[in-house]
């Protein structure tokens, strides 16, 4: 019997027996998206021999985004295959960060060049909206995409646009178009103090003393205590306490440096890193020495491309000089998420995940990066460390005024003549800072200010003589946070400012907890109404403050609560009803 005959079945024709199931045709592939072999080759070419560790996912998404200016589903799938990562795990990370453009099958990729126009408050009052509109209608959208962006940390040169990675300060549509035409897209590295220059003027002598055992831990702690150096990322926690706490936990320990300076109005960290990065590095290495950290992860926001370049160069220089072992400082690049300035969110991001703040306790000092005790510091905090240990605690502490201790780097922007970073005593007042910034712009009258960026609430001119320091504004429902002072004048509408700030929080809320995710969204909707529902806003604010996981949701209502408290008589109560 031949094979062909046999297939008919010995028991007779077998056709009728097939009436089982729907008898539809089976899939030609296993379930879900299939791997594109060509894409896999391309991804492998980008990754080269880099380790396929999951914590490096964001770095590798950058490689794809940088090379192809977007992340196609085929590349993302190939990356998953290469990293042995589930698709959903990669997709949720790629879509969390705003600097990644994930393009699925059948979707149109964005054009090769993106212009980001900063929409945050300092730029907004300097005409960001009309700049954005003009650019949107003035460019070839097939070649260029124009999008609004949260604060890029150049509030002193507002308004600002970024073409590719090249910033246009004091931007006008014409100036931006000119840059577009020039074809230049990469950032320009400013002149800064190199390692050699820093060492030439005595840099790294403190670290050397530490390492040589000439500056024992206890001595350093005493100095730091006397200096009263506090965490200048916004929380103000005494730096030396952190060192003591982290050191008290069983090693191995890690250290992170938070360079995700995203608080609208803040640009002091960029200021230091574009001028004297090595002073920060020396501070970092002293801190790492103090807590015996095995490794430092430096998380730098993607909005600072020049700083990223500088840091890469200077880390290599440190390695080459033998000050650190290769790989001791690992530079990690953010990807457009304000929330990663929150330390536990930043740690999640370094681990290659979405920037979701963690529930506390445990605190990161005990369970931090990769589950280890972790010391985290802001850039400026570290910047002061070598200087304090060189010049002495007294030098630093004595700078404070009005009962405060130490020096602060104030990011002053808005309607002042000379916006910029002003190094001035803690405890200084807004009015004094305005004076130091050259006074109000011509024709502008001081009306209101943000003492601490978008989060710290808004205060009226009548409270312009309050000493500004951690805790000093508590009773006004306000705080200095990252010391970002944005100054407003009579032409600025407080309600508009508040809506701008809340839109920022809505865009930047990670979405993890209900009070913040839904609260920010509903707050914007309520604030955009003709009449503010004061009672409901206050109720909402209370829950956001009480029940949000992290500081973003807890502080987001400060703007509208303080606005209602201090500006009710002026506009909000009476004239709000008439708003369009």
């Amino acid at each position: 019997m031949s094979v062909e005959q046999k297939t008919q079945g010995d028991g007779g024709p077998d056709r009728p027996a097939r009436h089982v199931g729907s008898r539809k045709r089976a899939r030609a592939f296993p379930k879900g998206r299939q791997l594109d072999v060509e894409a896999l080759d391309e991804v492998r070419a980008l990754l080269q021999d880099r380790p396929r560790r999951h914590d490096l996912l964001i770095e590798y998404l950058h490689l794809i985004q940088d090379r192809y200016h977007y992340i196609s589903a085929r590349h993302l799938k190939a990356l998953c295959e290469e990293m042995r990562l589930p698709q959903a795990a990669a997709y949720e990370v790629a879509t969390f960060y705003h600097h990644f453009d994930v393009v699925k099958e059948g979707e149109t990729p964005p054009p090769p060049t993106t212009i980001r126009v900063c929409e945050s408050i300092a730029c907004a009052i300097k005409g960001a909206e009309s700049l954005l509109a003009a650019l949107k209608s003035g460019v070839d959208t097939a070649k260029i995409r124009v999008v609004g962006a949260p604060c890029v940390g150049r509030c002193d040169t507002a308004p600002v646009a970024e073409v590719g990675h090249l910033f246009v300060d004091h931007a006008t549509p014409e100036r931006v178009q000119e840059v577009v035409r020039s074809g230049k897209r990469e950032s320009e590295i400013p002149r800064y103090e190199t390692l050699a220059e820093y060492r030439a003027k005595g840099g790294y002598s403190v670290l050397e003393k530490c390492r040589a055992g000439k500056l024992p831990f206890d001595t350093i702690i005493k100095e730091m205590t006397d200096a009263g150096l506090r965490g200048l990322g916004g929380a103000g926690f005494p730096a030396r306490r952190k060192w003591q706490i982290v050191r008290s936990y069983q090693g191995p320990r890690l250290m992170t440096i938070n360079g995700d300076e995203g608080e609208p109005g803040t640009f002091k960290d960029r200021y230091y890193l574009e001028r004297n990065p090595q002073q920060m590095f020396e501070g970092a290495l002293i801190a790492a020495w103090a807590v015996e950290a095995e490794r430092i992860y430096l998380y730098m926001r993607d909005e600072y491309p020049a700083v990223l370049d500088i840091l890469a160069i200077e880390i290599a220089a440190l390695e080459k000089a033998g000050i650190i072992e290769k790989g001791f400082i690992e530079l990690r690049r953010g990807a457009g998420a304000y929330i990663c300035g929150e330390e536990s969110a930043m740690i999640e991001s370094i681990e290659g995940k979405r920037g979701y703040p963690r529930n506390r306790p445990p605190y990161i000092a005990e369970v931090g990066l990769f589950g280890r005790p972790t010391l985290n510091h802001n850039i400026e905090t570290l910047y002061w460390v070598p200087e304090i240990l060189t010049k002495g605690a007294k030098w630093f502490a004595d700078h404070g005024v009005n009962g405060a201790k130490g020096l602060r780097s104030w990011s002053v922007s808005g309607r002042v003549k000379k916006p910029g970073v002003i190094v001035a005593p803690a405890g200084i007042t807004a009015r004094e800072l305005i004076e130091m910034a050259g006074g109000m712009e011509d024709g502008e009258t001081f009306k209101a200010y943000l003492p601490g960026g978008a989060s710290g609430g808004i205060l009226p001119e009548s409270l312009g003589d309050l000493p500004l320091d951690f805790g000093s504004l508590d009773k006004y429902g306000s705080f200095v946070g990252s010391h970002a002072v944005v100054v407003f004048s009579q032409r600025d509408d407080v309600a508009d400012i508040v809506i701008n700030l809340l839109r920022f929080f809505k865009d930047e809320s990670c979405g993890q907890c209900t009070p913040c995710r839904v609260g920010c969204d509903k707050a914007v909707a309520l604030l955009e109404r003709r009449q503010w529902d004061k009672e409901l806003l206050i109720e909402l604010a209370q829950t956001m403050r009480d029940a949000s996981i992290c500081g973003l949701g807890q502080a987001a209502p400060n703007a509208f609560i303080s606005a209602m408290q201090f500006f009710l008589d002026e506009r909000l109560g009476t004239e709000m009803a008439g708003r369009a």
Partner: protein, 933 residues
């Protein structure tokens, strides 16, 4: 009470156990704090994101999520302060703003609406968002994200509990939402439809489609009643709860059984509507005279070949036919196939019927086709055929070897525990010719050449010997024959087998060291080990490997052949084996023989009976002429089907007891329509040795009868004076024959649902791990049996250049009799496929999705080509559930000499274009997303 700490909760000093959260203590104290993202069920970690459970802690600036916050000594917690109550209510109000109205909800009785009602929040003062369209792309589940509250329970369900890793929480802020893969429609994603997300979802955003209106998407989980039972599919033995409305299974929930901890897979959750498939046999059927027997009857219309009969007539006809054969050709001409899909009680009665009425031992079942070789090797080596440790012991293992098994498809819920172990840090060694899903979690994935198991395992043992990684003390205390094994493996250096196995020597050494240095190692294996002509040798190697490293008898160690069917362990225990009476009592032993003659009060045969394939061969040769087949489908499951079907067709009298007109039933002389699993009660024993209670949930349809009733009535017609009226009576008798059931009673099983055997006392749990102090062999020691490399029964050549492997797939159970009649399972895998590597396809000039013809020396079938990178080049894979392209037409019936198991996993095959005689079939309606190829 050093471990406990004291704190104040609502003014009362309470104690917290280590690890307990405020929520848990409060609940223990009688105060259930509202909760949404917290699911107090095994496997779910608290996430603290919804903030519905906020409480006030004295001295803290902000409120705390009670679900995740652990109390510290002397903490003062207040759950009912104005601030806490307001925050909890505001969270609900914020969420309700964007929900569909309660009456329009996909789940009107969801936990979400429960907590809204408890807190008396019906509406929201906040403006609502736009409507989100439902995703109805999946046949089993409806996705209505407008009811989603982003609590992430579905993500934890998919990622952490079942570790299927399909759902993520993508995008940011208010845009955040659960997505499947890259935000794909659920039905086009890699979703394996375990339904864990559906079971976890607190809002109805993810629902079984069966209880949601297809148009309005309004639905409810409200049911009339529920019945606790156990899943009828694989050997994992998941406990489940039928949710019954209007006397139908509305949906199925997992229950917290030892082997499943609430988890289910697609079959156990969505595969139950086969019971009401229109093809159910409702009346006894007697064959019309003069029609040829074959695979030639439409299962929807048996009346072309059969006529209806009364039960009385059918039973009489069935009995008389068997008696006639026995009278004319002798008792030896009768054989019976029982079923691993029936209960222990039914299996016991089935073998008792054949043995006592026909005085022969020609009774077998599908264990012969799956683990007969494993059992043979285990009994030879350690004196027991069951697993030495439950698969849940994987929790305690630091090295886990999975070889010749594809648990994500065939033991999906067990696989979730393996994946969790790997995520926890256990090293997973996966050895399989196919690069299965488990590879993503494996430390080592050895995609070796098919049938080179013995060479590979000997080489691993070689390294362990060479590097002294074996456990001298253990070997001395508990084993024998190590010296000869040692000598034997000396010639199997990793270098010498690298070419045979396709695995480089360095990798073999690393794997050997990993296993050899393990503190606690477990070995799992499946049919890739057993279904070979050298299946027994394969298993011997695994047993030797485990024993030489002392990896048996402690927690986290052991040998675990993953049993296939829901009751294959139980049916074997109950004696559905030709050489054993219940509890593996040797039919040749006089003592055993006397015991059972006394118990059953009848003379018995001391001659071992024929095995499955031998019975079929005997049918072909005319030595077997009458058969009673209960719930088995040899016309699909046996190797070389044309031969097997011819044998069945040749029988003078065949009695089939089944729920559908299976391919076997088509050739019956009389068909007795029986009960589906949810329509009867009985116990089953899973791969873990758990004896579990299955409970009747549905009324019998039409004129069908419970299987036990049919067996008893048939026995009566055969002249056996049986009087059993309830499975509990059978169970009581089984206990007389089976010491393994000591301390396990029907009443206990009714009460506890599940007890592991062996069980030391009526009030103690059974033993998860056995043989910590020796083995039930004559010497008390385990025997290490060296094995040599034997070639497969048929190797590729120029004419048949590829290797065919057969097996199962996630959606289809065995021969497809049940699953292909379950709508969801059919929709997911509606037709037969042959899987090949894309490069192999390209070499043959075949495009994915094309019809192809697959031919072996035994036959040919035509089916759809599937491009699957997991299949290694040079091999093809075909699942055997599809009658229209039955894989077993192709397979080689050559048997393992000891286990008598056929070589389903290896034969020579060729592939080419279809001849085009395939009837036109509609296109598949769930297209895949193919970004490449």
């Amino acid at each position: 009470m050093t471990d406990q700490l004291l704190f104040t909760l609502d003014g009362k000093v309470v104690s917290a156990r280590p690890g307990e959260t405020i929520w848990q203590v409060a609940q223990r104290e009688g105060n259930t704090i509202p909760h949404l993202c917290w699911l107090p069920e095994p496997g779910y970690r608290a996430d603290g994101n919804c903030r519905a459970c906020m409480v006030e802690i004295e001295g803290e600036r902000v409120l705390a999520a009670s679900c995740i916050r652990k109390p510290s000594p002397d903490m003062v917690v207040k759950t009912a302060t104005d601030r806490a109550v307001k925050a909890r209510r505001m969270v609900m109000e914020l969420l309700i703003a964007d929900q569909p109205p309660h009456e329009d909800s996909p789940d009107r009785v969801s936990p979400f609406w429960h907590w809204a009602e408890v807190q008396r929040i019906e509406t929201s003062r906040f403006p609502a968002h736009g409507i989100i369209k439902p995703d109805l792309s999946h046949p089993a589940m409806a996705v209505n994200l407008d009811a989603c509250i982003d609590c992430g329970l579905c993500v934890r369900a998919c990622r952490e509990v079942q570790v299927n890793d399909v759902i993520g929480m993508a995008f940011r802020g208010i845009e955040a939402r659960p997505v499947f893969d890259f935000d794909d429609p659920m039905g086009r994603s890699t979703c394996v439809a375990c339904g864990e997300c559906v079971q976890a979802c607190p809002t109805g955003a993810l629902m079984p489609k069966s209880i949601v209106d297809p148009i309005t998407q309004h639905g409810t989980r409200e049911v009339d009643r529920e019945v606790h039972s156990v899943c009828p599919y694989c050997g994992v033995g998941c406990q489940l709860s039928y949710q019954i409305k209007d006397e139908k299974i509305a949906f199925v929930q997992g229950r917290n059984g030892y082997s499943n901890e609430n988890r289910l897979c697609v079959k156990g959750r969505f595969g139950f509507d086969y019971v009401s498939n229109p093809q159910r046999l409702m009346k006894p059927l007697i064959r019309k005279p003069g029609l040829p027997k074959g695979i030639n009857v439409d299962p929807a219309n048996p009346y072309t070949h059969f006529r209806e009969a009364s039960w009385r007539e059918a039973l009489d006809f069935a009995a008389k036919g068997l008696v006639k054969v026995a009278e004319q050709h002798g008792n030896e001409a009768i054989a019976g196939f029982g079923s691993a899909k029936c209960s222990n009680e039914e299996a016991y009665l089935f073998q008792k019927l054949i043995r006592t009425r026909f005085r022969n031992n020609n009774v077998d079942h599908c264990t012969r086709l799956c683990h007969a070789s494993s059992v043979a090797a285990l009994i030879e080596g350690i004196g027991s055929g069951a697993v030495t440790a439950t698969f849940n012991e994987v929790e305690h293992a630091d090295v886990v070897m999975i070889i010749g098994a594809n648990p994500t498809e065939n033991h999906p819920v067990a696989a979730t525990f393996f994946k969790q172990a790997a995520k926890r840090g256990a090293k997973l060694i996966v050895i399989d010719p196919r690069g299965q899903a488990m590879r993503e979690y494996a430390t080592y994935m050895l995609q070796f050449k098919p049938a080179s198991d013995v060479a590979l395992l000997n080489a691993i043992m070689h390294v362990i010997v060479e590097e002294g990684l074996y456990d001298v003390q253990y070997l001395q205390a508990f084993t024998e024959n190590f010296e000869s094994l040692k000598k034997h493996v000396a010639s199997y250096s990793p270098e010498s087998v690298a070419a045979t196995t396709g695995i480089d020597a360095k990798t073999i050494r690393e794997v050997a060291r990993t296993f050899g240095r393990a503190e606690r190692a477990l070995i799992f294996w499946g049919m890739g080990i057993s279904q070979h002509v050298h299946g027994t040798d394969n298993a011997r190697c695994l047993i030797a490997l485990s024993l030489m490293c002392g990896q048996v008898g402690r927690s986290g160690t052991g040998l675990h052949p993953l049993r296939g069917q829901n009751n294959v362990q139980g049916a074997s225990d109950a004696g559905l084996i030709p050489m054993f009476y219940p509890d593996y009592a040797d039919v040749k032993s006089d003592a055993v023989h006397n015991k059972f003659e006394q118990l059953w009060k009848t003379p018995l045969s001391e001659k071992p009976g024929l095995t499955v394939v031998e019975i079929i061969n005997a049918a072909v040769s005319g030595d077997i002429r009458g058969m009673f087949i209960q719930g088995e489908n040899p016309a699909m499951s046996d190797p070389d089907l044309d031969h097997a079907r011819a044998g069945l067709a040749k029988l003078e009298h065949m009695v089939v007891q089944d729920i559908f007109l299976t391919e076997t039933a088509m050739m019956a002389d009389v068909i007795l329509p029986s009960s589906a699993w949810p329509e009867k009660s009985g116990t089953v024993t899973n791969t873990n040795r758990q004896v579990q209670m299955g409970r009747k949930a549905l009324p019998l349809p039409g004129d069908t009868r419970e299987d036990l009733w049919i067996l008893v009535e048939l026995a009566k017609h055969l002249g056996l004076g049986w009087t059993y009226t309830h499975p509990s009576e059978v169970f009581a008798e089984m206990k007389l024959a089976m010491p393994s059931l000591d301390n396990i009673t029907w009443e206990r099983l009714e009460r506890e649902s599940s007890v592991i055997y062996p069980c030391p006392a009526p009030d103690q749990p059974g033993e998860a791990v056995v043989f910590g102090d020796g083995f039930p062999t004559q010497t008390g020691r385990a025997l290490l049996v060296p094995a040599d490399v034997l070639p497969p029964g048929e190797v590729p050549d120029d004419e048949y250049p590829l290797v065919l492997m057969t097996g199962r797939q996630l959606e289809h159970w065995h021969t497809g009799a049940m699953t292909r009649r379950a709508n969801v399972l059919d929709a997911l895998e509606p037709g037969p496929t042959v899987s090949l590597h894309p490069r192999e396809l390209a070499r043959h000039g075949i495009k994915p999705g094309e019809l192809v013809r697959v031919t072996t020396r035994r036959g040919a079938i035509e089916l759809t080509a599937r491009a699957d990178r997991a299949v290694q080049e040079g091999t093809i894979f075909i699942p055997f559930a599809y009658v229209e392209a039955a894989a077993n037409i192709l397979t080689n019936p050559q048997l393992d000499p000891i286990g008598k198991i056929p070589e389903y996993k290896y034969c020579a095959v060729k592939i080419g274009p279809a001849h085009g005689d395939e009837p036109h079939v509609p296109e598949f309606d769930i297209p895949v997303i193919a970004s490449g190829l």
